[in-house]
């Protein structure tokens, strides 16, 4: 494998968002802070999601994970669609890099951006509410797997979309609803039975729930079940992304 080539593509993808970090890192951090200030202020005294856990404390890990997921997706998808639309992807297509190298570099950089934004959100919001680290390994496992899965999903969306509005539709009609309906802002136990059942079909729910488990030591479902669902989801999405890259889907005519 061309390790230097793969590392170069990874570094380029990281530089691509880091060169405009104000837009790609600082802006999503600010958005999350706004969510926390508004929802936290309104609901902190009215909602107790877990026993002994205030709403703002409950909300905080959800916002961190939501930022990780959305930004991991944004990185790989926007990079691919921009390169395709502007045409500069030709200089990547003519290189000896394998589809595995593309996958590793795009997913790796997406994970770096997702985790960087997540860390930024955590660093800024942690001062607003008490937070524990009950089982920190789950935090690392679910943040990493979630960022990887959304990075792979971003590769699929970036390859599929021919125009920016198609990518935007993918983001607004698939990623956004799945994220918002995953329990970022509430515990699924507070939902009616039908919606509880529907939430359990959403892999994003398991990412958020497992991630939150790392902070509070309690969760809506077993973290092992969440790990199994997220792990299998990651393998399926990554497999599809790898297959599309290997066949040159919408890249090589």
């Amino acid at each position: 494998m061309n390790f230097d080539g793969t590392a170069t593509l990874f570094r380029k993808e990281v530089l691509r968002f880091w060169n405009v970090a104000f837009q790609t890192v600082a802006a999503p951090v600010l958005t999350s802070v706004m969510y926390m200030l508004i929802f936290g202020h309104v609901l902190d005294q009215r909602v107790e999601a877990f026993p002994g856990v205030g709403y703002t404390s409950f909300l905080l890990p959800g916002l961190v994970m939501m930022s990780v997921l959305q930004n991991a997706f944004a990185n790989s998808s926007s990079s691919l669609i921009q390169s395709k639309v502007t045409g500069n992807i030709v200089f990547l297509l003519v290189t000896p890099l394998s589809h595995g190298a593309w996958f590793a570099a795009y997913i790796g950089a997406a994970m770096v951006r997702g985790l960087a934004v997540g860390a930024g959100v955590l660093a800024v919001t942690i001062w607003f509410a008490p937070l524990r680290l009950a089982e920190p390994w789950w935090i690392l496992v679910f943040a990493t797997l979630g960022a990887g899965m959304l990075g792979a999903l971003g590769v699929i969306a970036g390859l599929w979309a021919d125009r920016f509005d198609q990518l935007s539709a993918f983001q607004n009609f698939i990623i956004m609803p799945m994220t918002f309906l995953s329990g970022v802002f509430y515990s699924v136990h507070s939902l009616p039975g039908l919606w509880q059942a529907a939430s359990h079909l959403n892999p994003f729910f398991y990412m958020i729930d497992g991630f939150r488990r790392g902070f509070f030591g309690v969760s809506d479902v077993s973290p092992l079940l969440s790990l199994a669902v997220v792990g299998v989801s990651f393998l399926v999405v990554a497999g599809i992304a790898l297959r599309l890259l290997a066949t040159g889907y919408k890249l090589r005519s």
Partner: protein, 321 residues
């Protein structure tokens, strides 16, 4: 019927096209862009690939570069199959694309270092600086790509294609819409690389460039090779004399039927002096006033038009160099 075109040269083969075909499937049916294209380019050659728009030049180059997959046939670069041994084939190939494409996030030198890294070459600054100097880009090294003029961006494309020192260089209409200075800089540099042993494959609509630079030329029409020969043989084997003049008057029918008219300029081919005299007599008798009359040898444009105006996918004009 298609004919395989091989050169008689004993030089090792740099690029080998063997019965390459490409069919694009669309909603309104299929389009055969390449139809059994076969020829070799020897190492060290400066080879021209000519044809009108839609002839299949860019498709052939796309297949060579791995940007498109051939429907049939086989292509190798320096002996490496572009599908089964794509990594080695692509390392041997440097492509200058037709469109002005660039990554707006990076400076010129960052772009070149990144491109070099894709090929696994990390410490390449000496060659990158040489490229920048040769292409007149040294003072733009730290400029963002967005800040460059079209001509400067074109130079960066050339540098990107050469950053890994490929033995085979493909230039897909590199001088389209660029100024004289860049053309001269570019051709001086590419000619130097060719003298040093690099193989060059050029597609261009500027036939005077192809005539001046290319030792051998293939012409494509509707996806098939219709001529393949040395440039000198192509020129010698066709209409050898051209009568050129300017006029504001209507041409007599006999001359109008065979002449190429561009604005006021009229060009008509003649095979010998008697034919020239006949044409001049016809013009005189018709009362056509001519200016700037000259009689010269046919150039590549004349040969190109003659071949292209012939039957579709005719037998090649030549098969050996």
């Amino acid at each position: 019927m298609q004919t395989s075109h091989r050169t008689s040269s004993t030089a090792p083969v740099a690029v080998h096209f063997d019965e390459v075909s490409k069919v694009y499937q669309g909603a309104r049916g299929s389009l055969r862009a390449l139809d059994g294209v076969s020829f070799d380019i020897q190492q060290g050659e400066f080879f021209g690939l000519l044809g009108p728009n839609g002839a299949g030049k860019t498709t052939l180059i796309s297949v060579l570069a791995g940007l498109a997959r051939a429907t049939g046939g086989r292509v190798t670069v320096m002996g490496h199959d572009v599908v089964s041994d794509y990594a080695a084939a692509r390392k041997a190939l440097g492509i200058v694309p037709q469109e002005l494409v660039f990554d707006p996030f990076f400076s010129v030198i960052e772009t070149l270092r990144i491109q070099s890294g894709y090929y696994g070459i990390r410490r390449n600054d000496a060659w990158i600086e040489e490229l920048l100097a040769a292409l007149g880009l040294s003072d733009k090294a730290h400029s963002n790509m967005r800040q460059l003029s079209g001509g400067m961006k074109r130079r960066v494309l050339v540098a990107q294609a050469l950053v890994h020192r490929p033995p085979v260089i493909v230039l897909d209409e590199p001088t389209a819409g660029v100024d004289v200075e860049l053309r001269q800089t570019l051709w001086a540099f590419i000619s130097k690389l060719n003298r040093e042993g690099h193989t060059v494959l050029l597609t261009t609509h500027y036939l005077e460039e192809a005539e001046a630079l290319c030792g051998r030329i293939a012409m494509l029409k509707q996806g098939r090779v219709v001529a393949l020969d040395s440039t000198s043989a192509l020129l010698a084997g066709r209409a050898s004399t051209m009568l050129r003049f300017k006029t504001d008057d209507a041409l007599p029918a006999a001359i109008a039927a065979m002449a190429r008219v561009t604005g006021r300029t009229v060009q008509a081919k003649a095979h010998d002096a008697a034919e020239v005299e006949t044409m001049l007599a016809t013009l005189r008798s018709s009362g056509v006033k001519v200016e700037d009359l000259e009689i010269g040898r046919a150039d590549l444009e004349d040969v190109f038009l003659e071949i292209m105006q012939g039957g579709a996918a005719a037998e090649p004009a030549g098969v050996a160099a």
